[in-house]
């Protein structure tokens, strides 16, 4: 009997790691963005393996389907004829230092992850309880709009403020641009 979840996990995690490396090493920004899409998609696969179907669907819907499309759009629009930058010319000591820094960060990250697992208690949501509540979507929606409704509203307010600020900035630029011409 083949262990399908393990097989899927290996496939998705391999794609995620290779994709992340490609995001860093690809010289063309659009290719990097496409690699990032693959990374997000495999993350969604990993979430789905953990039976977090809603998180998986939202991961694809929001990150892969909306944010990355916007990223690719902006990169393609702005970055047309810029020559590919060459990072190989940096000095040896810089390479050494950055190598040490990166491995230090990875080490710290693993340490923090292990520490966090022992510090934060596991929630009371087991798979049985979720199905009792009527599935992932219902469970999350109910908790979001009852226990955490204040945080939810504050977040949406912050996003609204960000939208207004963006429009204000863009309009001011457009206005001053007209003034010069």
């Amino acid at each position: 009997m083949i262990d399908y979840p393990l097989l899927a996990f290996s496939a998705f995690s391999t794609i995620a790691i290779l994709g992340s490396l490609m995001v860093i090493f690809k010289k063309n920004p659009v290719a990097s963005a496409f690699a990032l899409v693959a990374v997000f998609f495999s993350f969604a696969g990993l979430y789905a393996l953990m039976s977090a179907h809603l998180v998986a669907a939202l991961q694809i819907l929001v990150y892969t389907g909306a944010i990355m499309v916007l990223f690719v759009f902006v990169i393609m629009l702005l970055n047309q004829d810029r020559p590919v930058e060459d990072f190989k010319s940096s000095s040896g000591i810089f390479k050494l230092l950055s190598g040490i820094a990166v491995s230090g960060f990875v080490f710290a990250l693993v340490k923090v992850a292990l520490l966090a697992r022992s510090l934060t208690p596991r929630g009371d949501m087991t798979e049985e309880k979720i199905s009792e509540l009527g599935g992932n979507v219902k469970a999350i929606a109910e908790s979001l709009f009852s226990d955490h409704v204040l945080q939810f509203e504050i977040t949406s307010f912050l996003i609204l403020a960000a939208i207004v600020a963006t429009i204000a900035l863009a309009k001011r630029k457009a206005h001053s641009g007209r003034g010069h011409s």
């Binding site: 496409f34 991961q59 892969t64 389907g65 499309v69 690719v72 599935g135």
Partner: protein, 363 residues
């Protein structure tokens, strides 16, 4: 879990894949002859009766044509782009129920590949992946027209996906679920009766505005006229698939037709009762059951449910062709204005009104 269950799973997947693949040549025929009909032409009519074999000839031509890629393309992305377009198109169908349930030897089979918890959200998320095929193709082709096509495609996708999602919020509020199986099941109820006619609780009767918004955005999502700006042959020659030939081009065409099939199936499932029997079909079902040609009465029902689903989907596929050859293409700024300044606010308003009506207890 009995031994029947995995077998039924394979049968279901087989039905869906075969059905989707079969729509491609059928739609090829319908689109060409249908457009000819509307424009007072003949269309391809030489191969076989009514030109029915033209599609088969085209497939043979596509397969045996020399597969050459221009020298200036980005090879890797150029090669995978058609697949990125076509695979999500197939995947989307996985959550759409195409018939009721059948009980054989104590095993109940629901005719839906996966009744996911997230239901229609899965459809949206997978459908949103398909745009990468178009973006990749346009970018990898290293051609200004193609790049413009993929830029348009991404802008269009972002704008219309919002409305697409928003148009269904009202429906989800009424049915209290995002599971497509539940939504279809609830649409079997009767909304009200007009004399002898029982009006079913179909999505279109409860959410007419939501239906219109969904219909318009789905045209934009499937890149069909009047919203086929990424292709726009009069301005961009062929847009994103300008540099593609032979089977690779055929894959893009396949993706378009399958996306159309999925979109029609979604319209049917969400707004027209899915596999619920067409009005006059219940009489037919009892008639066939009384004939006793098929021993299992449950099986008769399932067959007619599948048939109802296919008829409804076929109507909407025809609607896509109908609209394509009726309306002229939009200009890009008109498309953006329509999306952001008309459809999006109307969608928000629809959610608000639906919420109010549910609060008042009307819906």
């Amino acid at each position: 879990m009995s031994s029947l269950e995995p077998m039924m799973m394979f049968i279901k997947i087989g039905i869906v894949l075969a059905g989707l693949l079969a729509t491609v040549p059928i739609m090829l025929f319908v689109e060409r002859r249908g457009s000819a009909l509307m424009q007072n032409r003949l269309g391809p009519n030489r191969m076989g009766p009514f030109g029915l074999f033209q599609a088969a000839c085209d497939v043979i031509k596509f397969i045996f044509k020399e597969d050459r890629a221009p020298g200036h393309v980005n090879k890797f992305y150029y090669t995978i782009a058609p697949w990125v377009a076509v695979i999500p198109a197939f995947m989307t169908f996985a959550v759409i129920p195409f018939a009721g349930s059948l009980t054989l030897d104590g095993t109940t089979t629901h005719f839906q590949i996966a009744n996911l918890d997230v239901g229609v959200l899965y459809c949206f998320s997978i459908a949103s992946l398909g745009v990468y095929g178009i973006i990749m193709a346009g970018w990898a082709s290293n051609n200004h027209y193609s790049l413009l096509g993929s830029l348009r495609s991404s802008a269009q996708m972002i704008s219309y996906e919002l409305t697409l999602g928003l148009s269904l919020v009202g429906l989800m509020m009424v049915f209290q679920s995002v599971k497509l199986g539940d939504i279809v099941f609830e649409q079997g109820e009767t909304l009200f009766t007009l004399g002898a006619i029982a009006v079913p609780k179909w999505g279109i009767f409860i959410q007419p505005v939501g239906f219109l918004l969904f219909l318009v955005s789905v045209f934009a999502e499937t890149n069909r006229l009047p919203f086929d700006l990424p292709e726009g042959e009069s301005e961009l020659i062929a847009g994103y698939h300008l540099e593609y030939g032979s089977m690779r081009f055929a894959l893009f065409m396949m993706a378009e037709f399958i996306n159309m099939a999925v979109a029609s199936a979604l319209i049917t499932t969400l707004f027209f009762g899915g596999w619920q029997l067409l009005p006059f079909f219940s009489v037919l079902v009892s008639h066939v059951q009384s004939l006793g040609l098929i021993p299992d009465p449950n099986l008769v029902e399932v067959i007619f449910q599948g048939l109802s689903f296919i008829i409804k989907v076929a109507f909407w596929m025809w609607f896509f062709v109908w609209v394509r050859w009726t309306l002229p293409r939009f200009r890009f700024d008109q498309l953006m204005n329509l999306g952001w300044k008309v459809l999006f606010p109307v969608g928000l308003l629809n959610v608000l009104v639906t919420g109010f009506l549910i609060y008042k207890g009307v819906l």
